[in-house]
Subunit: 338 residues, 2 copies
C-alpha cells in the first residue's frame, strides 16, 4: 500500500473514524494518481475505493492505484459504505454543502485535513517538478524580451503562455498577469488590449507534471517607482533570509510587513506575504498574519510582498522557495530585470 | 434596485429568511457586476453588501452595483449581520463545508438556489453574448483548416485558442480538447504532443464578455467511424427537434439516448445529453436522465450525444441551442466538416 494512503489510515485510526472521503481533484490525484475530469468520490478506508463518473472510468482504471468502481448514486454508495461498518466519515473542508447534505443522514461527519497536511511537505520528486516548472517559466519570460516589447499586455501574456508550452509546460499554472501603468495596482489585474505602460508587472507560472510554478517581476522606470521597488525588494530579501524550520509562518509575514510599514506603506501591502504551491497554485500553509503553522523542511512557499498605490501603480516581487535548513530560491531569474 | 436582487429579496421574504450569502464567483458577478479574484462574501438582504478581500477592494468599488466593505473576519461579519436581525441565512449548495462551519453557530442555515434559478433563464443580452462567443469560436475553428493540418494535437489546441483570442475572445471557455485516434474515446481527453490520428474530435469554446460557448465536431474517416458518426448525428438532430418549452429535460435526454440504444450503443453513451451554459461552462438544468426540470423559454443548453468505444475511438457532436418556442441552434457551423 502507498505511503500516503497508509498515513491517512493511521490518522483515521487515531481519530476513531472509519473512512475519509476525498472529492477535491488534486487531492484525489495526489492519493490515487488519477485526476478526475468531472467528479469522483475517493474513499480512503481499509480497502480504499474510488467511485468514478462513467465518463472517467477508462482514464481512472488506467491511472488509479486504488480500485475503481462506477458511481451510480449517493444511495448506492452510502449503502455500500454503511455495510462495511462505516459510521464516522471524514470529509475535506472544501466539500460543497450540497454534497454534505447527501451524506449527513447516513454518517457522522468530521472535517479533516489529512491530505493537506501531507501535501504541505513535498517529496524530492515533487520539488523537482516545481523546479522544472519554474525553469520553464523563467526561460520563457526571458524569451519575451520584455523591455523591447511593442505588443499589447494581452499579446504578451499570450506569447508567454505559448513559450511556456513550447518549452514543455502542460499549461499556465494560473491566468497569466501582464499589467502596466495604473492597472498594476490591482493584484489580480487582467491583461488589456493596450500597449505597455510603466511600470510593467508580470505574474506568471507554468505547470509541469501537474506541478505549478509562480513568479512575479516588476520593471520600474521613474524615480518614485524605483523607490517603491527598492522597498519591496528589501521586504522580499529579508523575508527569504529569515525563513527557517521552527519559525511560524506568521513570523515571516511580519518580517516583510514590517519593512514595508517602516517606510510608511503598510496599508498598501494588501495581501499575505506568500502561499504554498504544488498540484494547486494556492496551498497551505501561507506566510500570512493569521497562519501560525510551524515551518518545516520540505515546504515550498512563495514570497511575494507588494505595494499597491491605487490610481498610480503597483510593485510586486515574487519568488518560490523550497525549505531545507534554510530557504532556497527556486530558479535563477534576477529580481531586477534590466 | 436591480431586478435580480429584487427577485432574491422576494424569494427570501417567501421563505422567511433574512439574507442570502453568495460566494461562488459567477453568482457574485451575476448579481453585482463585480467578479471576485480571490474571495468575496456577497450578502443579499434589505441592504445588500459585499465583504470583499482587501486585494479586491479597488476593482470591487469600481465595478459593483452593491455597497462594498472590506472583509476582516468571520467574527466581524457575523456580528454585523446578527445586529441587523439576521437569524436564518440562506447559502449556495456549492458553499465549502469549512465556510459553513464558520456560520452555523451564528445562523440557522438553509441551502437555496435562488440565483441558479434566475441564471437558468437568460436575458436577451446574455444570449447575445453567448451567440457572439459561439461566432468567435466557430470562425476560429474554420481558420484551423483542420483537414490539412499537420500539427500535433497540442499545437492545434493552442492555435485554436490563439485564433479565438485574436478574434476577440477573453479566453477559452474551458480546456480545449483536440484528440484523435483511440484517445478520442475519453470524453475529457487532454491534447497530446502527437500528430493527428483518425478520427479527430475537437471540443472547444470561447469566452466573450464573461459568457461561454461550447461546440464539438468529430471528423471521421473509415466506414465504421462514419456509421457511428451517423448514429450520433441522428441522436443530435432528433433531440434538438424535440426541444420545446413544457417538456422535461430528462425527456430530451431520453430521445437522444433511445436513438443510440436502438443501434446497440446505449452503454457507450456515458454522459448526459447536455448542460446549460452562461457565465459558467456547466450550469443547470441539463438534459440528463435525472433532471426533471421543465424546459422554459430563455434557457440555453447544449446537445452533445456521443458514442465512446474504449480502445478504438469516440464520436461526439455538440451544438448549443437557445430556446424560444423551439430550439434555435446558435451559430452556423455545419455538423459535417468536409
Amino acid at each position: 500500500m502507498d505511503m500516503h494512503i497508509e498515513n491517512i489510515q493511521n490518522d483515521l485510526k487515531n481519530d476513531d473514524i472509519q473512512a475519509y472521503l476525498l472529492t477535491q481533484f488534486t487531492n484525489v490525484e495526489y492519493i490515487s494518481n488519477y485526476k478526475p475530469t468531472s467528479f469522483a468520490f475517493c474513499v480512503i478506508k481499509e480497502n480504499p475505493i474510488i467511485y468514478a463518473s462513467s465518463m472517467d472510468m477508462e482514464i481512472a482504471k488506467n491511472n488509479s492505484i486504488i480500485e475503481v468502481r462506477e458511481y451510480e448514486s449517493f444511495e448506492t454508495m452510502n449503502e455500500e459504505l454503511k455495510k462495511e461498518g462505516i459510521k464516522r466519515l471524514a470529509i475535506e473542508p472544501s466539500l460543497p454543502y450540497g454534497t454534505y447534505e447527501k451524506l449527513r443522514d447516513d454518517f457522522e461527519i468530521a472535517s479533516k485535513t489529512y491530505v493537506d497536511k501531507q501535501r504541505m511537505i513535498k517529496t524530492p520528486r515533487e520539488i523537482e517538478n516545481i523546479a522544472k516548472a519554474t525553469e520553464i517559466a523563467q526561460k520563457s519570460f526571458m524569451q519575451l524580451d520584455i523591455l523591447n516589447n511593442k505588443n499589447t499586455e494581452k499579446e504578451i501574456a499570450f506569447d508567454l503562455v505559448r513559450f511556456m508550452i513550447e518549452n514543455g509546460a502542460e499549461k499556465e499554472s494560473f491566468d497569466t498577469i501582464v499589467t502596466s501603468g495604473a492597472n498594476s495596482s490591482l493584484p489580480h489585474a487582467i491583461p488589456q488590449g493596450k500597449k505597455l505602460g510603466q511600470p510593467i508587472l508580470i505574474d506568471w507560472g507554468a505547470k509541469y507534471n501537474g506541478y505549478c510554478s509562480d513568479n512575479t517581476r516588476t520593471m520600474v522606470y521613474d524615480e518614485f517607482q524605483h523607490e517603491i521597488w527598492d522597498i519591496v525588494a528589501e521586504a522580499h530579501d529579508k523575508a527569504i533570509k529569515a525563513i527557517k524550520p521552527g519559525f511560524k509562518c506568521s513570523e515571516i509575514d511580519m518580517i516583510s510587513r514590517d519593512v514595508i510599514s517602516e517606510y510608511g506603506y503598510g496599508d498598501n501591502f494588501i495581501h499575505s506575504t506568500g502561499h504554498s504551491l504544488g498540484l494547486d497554485i494556492h496551498e497551505t500553509p501561507g506566510f500570512s498574519p493569521r497562519d501560525d503553522t510551524v515551518i518545516e523542511e520540505g515546504m515550498v512557499i512563495t514570497v511575494e510582498p507588494g505595494i499597491y498605490l491605487e490610481g498610480k501603480f503597483g510593485v510586486r516581487l515574487e519568488d518560490t522557495v523550497s525549505i531545507s535548513k534554510k530557504a532556497n530560491v527556486i530558479g535563477d531569474l534576477p529580481l531586477n530585470i534590466v
